[in-house]
Symmetry: C2
Subunit: 154 residues, 2 copies
């Protein structure tokens, strides 16, 4: 093969790889949509636990909700804060503050969220309503801590 053809082949291969990568990588809009969806699913399950500990208690529902919260918390939500998703629209304009992408404290806040979510799943399994209520409070405080620092106000 001539040097020229070799170069052409190399360039073509690179272009194809780039195209394949571009195809695989989700767009920022899609990532923001997933991120917003994650928090909706967390809100659904958090609300279910609240309704159970404040009203008629159904252990089975609480355990299911707490397990879903923990599995989502453990799933690597951080990857949904990918570069390019600090602004933009998913289901709606993102309400994230740019500080979450740069602030060192953000990892700590996220770590607390994961820790209390896992504790909530453990406590839910005991069926002890008072303990679940207390742990649910601790867990939602970690949600609030993040909202306070890293979510834009309306």
């Amino acid at each position: 093969m001539s040097k020229c053809i070799k170069s052409l082949v190399a360039v073509l291969a690179l272009s194809l790889s780039a195209a394949a990568l571009a195809q695989q990588a989700p767009k920022p809009e899609q990532i923001i949509k997933w991120r917003q969806s994650v928090y909706q699913v967390l809100a659904w399950n958090t609300g279910r636990i609240k309704a159970n500990v404040e009203g008629q208690f159904n252990k089975d529902e609480v355990v299911k909700a707490a397990n879903a919260i923990a599995a989502i918390a453990n799933s690597g939500i951080g990857s949904l804060y990918a570069p390019g998703t600090d602004t933009g629209k998913g289901w709606h304009d993102t309400t994230v503050k740019p500080e979450i992408f740069t602030d060192k404290k953000a990892a700590e806040v996220a770590g607390n969220f994961v820790k209390e979510a896992n504790e909530l799943a453990k406590v839910a399994a005991t069926g002890d309503v008072a303990a679940i209520k207390a742990q649910h409070g601790k867990f939602t405080q970690t949600c609030k801590a993040c909202h306070d620092d890293y979510r834009k106000k309306d």
Copy 2:
């Protein structure tokens, strides 16, 4: 208390209870939004597993994604198909077909989805790429089966 006042008090108490209930029960729009969000989160995690078994494999990411899928599948998604949510808008107009609310086969389709999601989490834990790829295929077939029968076409 006169009979009249007693009746007034009783009526007032009933109204307050009804108001409290109305406040607690999520609106159909909110329920549809949660439902649509659940499927987005499932799509995110399903896509992650696909990318891993077709590209560079990271067991940790696959396990996290599969555990999230299983916990959501086990969380009681059926409750998000509440009365009054057969039509209406969440993030967008629901694409659900009304048959899912009445068709006896819907429970079977949902059961298969839960079964294969739990199996996917089990297989993911082994780290066997070929087995995960096969089980991921089985799982997504249960998604497709539901879409084929109960999701409106564009």
